[in-house]
């Protein structure tokens, strides 16, 4: 399996709003904690470590 980088979200605008709304009332440390938990939850959902590694590489390489 490969990482899907084609459009895949059922509702991109709603997702994006939900993501930013979560952080609206949080300070920097709280936001970092939420992000960390989110990464862990989503990674487990993806399950395949090779796919996650591909995502890590893309995330790391973009300036």
């Amino acid at each position: 399996m490969r990482l899907n980088t084609q459009p895949n979200l059922t509702d991109p605008d709603t997702f994006y709003a939900a993501l930013t709304d979560v952080h609206r009332q949080l300070d920097k440390v709280q936001s970092e904690c939420v992000n960390a938990r989110l990464i862990l939850l989503l990674a487990n959902h993806i399950g395949n470590v090779d796919v996650i590694k591909e995502a890590l590489t893309i995330a790391e390489e973009i300036e």
């Binding site: 970092e32 904690c33 960390a36 990464i39 862990l40 939850l41 487990n44």
Partner: protein
């Protein structure tokens, strides 16, 4: 301070070698009578090989060191004939708790697979482990154990090794074909040969404290991340025999070891861990730092490095002593085969290839546990802490919590000694893995498969209870001409079975069938260290013959095969 164990003092015995004008030659000299050195000497004796064991002290390990011995180590000890004492004395915990800050995150039960003679692990103080090994050496004339004998000089060449031994009666020299250096993490042999063990020193200090509880305390493993009684650090509590509890407290790099070892400093911390009501005696305390490092090569001329001398790991994950015993087992049958001219010299090189792989795996696993327990930067700590927070409600996060995992046996799927797999098996074993045990019946009595593997090449074959004449002839050929012991596995006792042919194993639990995907004709070839070296769905004498030769190193590069196929020599 130590009240539960009194170290035995072993007698120094004057060796006749000191009277010789010429250095006396021995096939094998082992330096260090720790877990590795003792296991080497017993295993060599089982192969009929004599060894001299030199140790500069005259007792077993002083104080608390290794405590967790995993199933594979116990299986090796079973083969060496000393697992029973260890298992009888050792304790096992099944239940554990993980705490984060001031709350219980989760508790767990270790659900070990059933149908194995040996438990998944035992906790046992290293001094008992060594004492039982010393006891076992006394059963063998082949083991010449010399206490108070320190190697002070070493000369190593491609042909042999010469050492100078210093003992209470003076100095003498010895030569040997093979010198096995099992003299620990600060190996003198390694230092004298100018060799290095390289790796990572962790910037942290830990306090080990052994305490004796005065009242009942649950037999559980408790691990705290960032506990209120010891902020920003970690703490571990688990049980050893004699009602002794091992406590590991992370101290941080800036801690003063001398200060931290003081009873008045240790006591309040432990009291906070155990609760105000707990009454305890402090038995032992020491402060340590640790390293994950290994030598680039475990072989130097005819000197072989084993255990901590060759490879050292952090204590998390129980891969120090367990890794050491697996290295010792890997080396012995190879040395025995070469000394008995059953194998080319190049077989010994595979000790390095196979155990470098094992050492890397052990270092990787213990480093991962260490990095989880002591995060190396702010973001690692943040992920660690959030993993623990999620773990309270979400089971997936518990799989990420790494406070040291159970030590799993090393497997060698890439070993050049393996025969490649051509058949398909519904089994998670393969060439290069250690066997899986199973309850069996032999001659009507309950027994275990593991008792019949090792010390020689063993072929396990699935058979029908009525063997025909051709099968009998083939099996006899394998036994007598290929010199391989036979385990014939059937559902019912084989009719008119001749005991000289081998052992008839009844798969009474059907676990062999299940774990090995074994049916009639299926056969597994095990090396003398029990590792599976090849497996096939159909029996073929020529395939087995080739597989045994391959496992003995005859197909390795640098070998040449002379015209007479039965006579094979190694190129040096």
């Amino acid at each position: 301070m130590q009240n539960t164990y009194k170290n035995p003092i072993y007698p120094y015995i004057r060796s006749q070698d000191i009277d010789s004008t010429q250095p006396v030659h021995h096939p094998v000299i082992i330096v260090g009578a720790g877990p590795g050195g003792l296991a080497l000497s017993i295993d060599l004796a089982l192969h009929g090989i004599k060894s001299v064991v030199l140790d500069d002290n005259n007792t077993v390990s002083v104080g608390s060191r290794a405590i967790c011995f995993a199933k594979r180590t116990l299986e090796i000890m079973n083969r060496l004939g000393c697992s029973k004492k260890m298992v009888d004395k050792g304790v096992t915990w099944k239940h554990g708790k993980v705490f984060f800050k001031n709350e219980l995150v989760y508790d767990f039960d270790l659900l070990a697979e059933s149908g194995h003679k040996l438990p998944a692990f035992i906790n046992l103080q290293q001094y008992y482990f060594e004492e039982y090994l010393v006891d076992r050496t006394e059963d063998f004339n082949e083991v010449d154990l010399r206490w108070k004998s320190k190697v002070t000089e070493i000369q190593s060449s491609a042909e042999e090794t010469e050492v100078t031994v210093s003992c209470p009666d003076g100095e003498y020299k010895l030569t040997c074909d093979f010198l096995l250096s099992a003299d620990g993490s600060n190996s003198n042999i390694r230092r004298m040969l100018g060799l290095e063990s390289k790796g990572q020193v962790f910037q942290d200090r830990f306090l080990i404290a052994d305490v004796v509880m005065k009242a009942e305390f649950p037999t559980e493993r408790w691990f705290w991340f960032d506990p209120p009684f010891h902020p920003n650090q970690s703490a571990l509590l688990h049980k050893q025999p004699d009602n002794v509890w091992r406590i590991d407290l992370q101290l941080g790099w800036d801690a003063d070891p001398e200060e931290e070892k003081k009873e008045e400093v240790i006591r309040p911390r432990i009291q906070a861990m155990l609760g105000e009501e707990a009454e305890f005696e402090l038995e032992w305390a020491s402060v340590y730092t640790f390293q994950c490092r290994k030598m680039d090569r475990f072989i130097h001329n005819r000197v072989f490095f084993v255990g901590d001398a060759a490879h050292q790991v952090s204590p998390f994950g129980a891969r120090g002593a367990n890794g050491c015993i697996q290295s010792a087992e890997n080396l012995v049958w190879k040395i025995a085969s070469v000394l008995q001219k059953q194998a080319p010299y190049s077989l010994l090189e595979t000790y390095d290839t196979e155990r470098q792989h094992g050492a890397k795996e052990n270092i990787l696993n213990s480093t991962r546990a260490t990095d989880f327990i002591t995060p190396k930067n702010d973001m690692s700590r943040l992920f660690r802490d959030q993993t623990l927070k999620l773990a309270k409600q979400h089971s997936f996060a518990r799989t990420l919590v790494n406070s040291g995992r159970l030590s799993m046996p090393c497997s060698y799927p890439e070993s050049p000694l393996n025969s490649s797999e051509k058949d398909t098996f519904a089994s998670d074993l393969c060439a290069g893995t250690v066997p899986k045990d199973a309850p069996i019946k032999v001659k009507g009595l309950d027994d275990w498969l593991i008792n019949y593997l090792g010390n020689q090449f063993v072929l396990m074959v699935g058979v029908n209870s009525s063997l025909n004449a051709i099968q009998y002839e083939e099996l006899e050929f394998i036994k007598n001409n290929l010199n391989i012991s036979l385990l014939l596995v059937s559902d019912e006792p084989i009719q008119h079975f001749e005991n000289a042919l081998g052992i008839n194993i009844i798969d009474s639990s059907e676990l062999i069938r299940q774990r090995y995907d074994l049916s009639e004709g299926t056969n597994y070839l095990f090396r003398p260290d029990q590792v599976i070296t090849g497996r096939w769905k159909n029996l073929s004498i020529s395939v087995i013959k080739q597989a045994k030769n391959k496992a003995l190193g005859y197909e390795l590069e640098n070998n040449y095969v002379s015209e007479n196929n039965n006579h094979v020599e190694a190129a040096q």
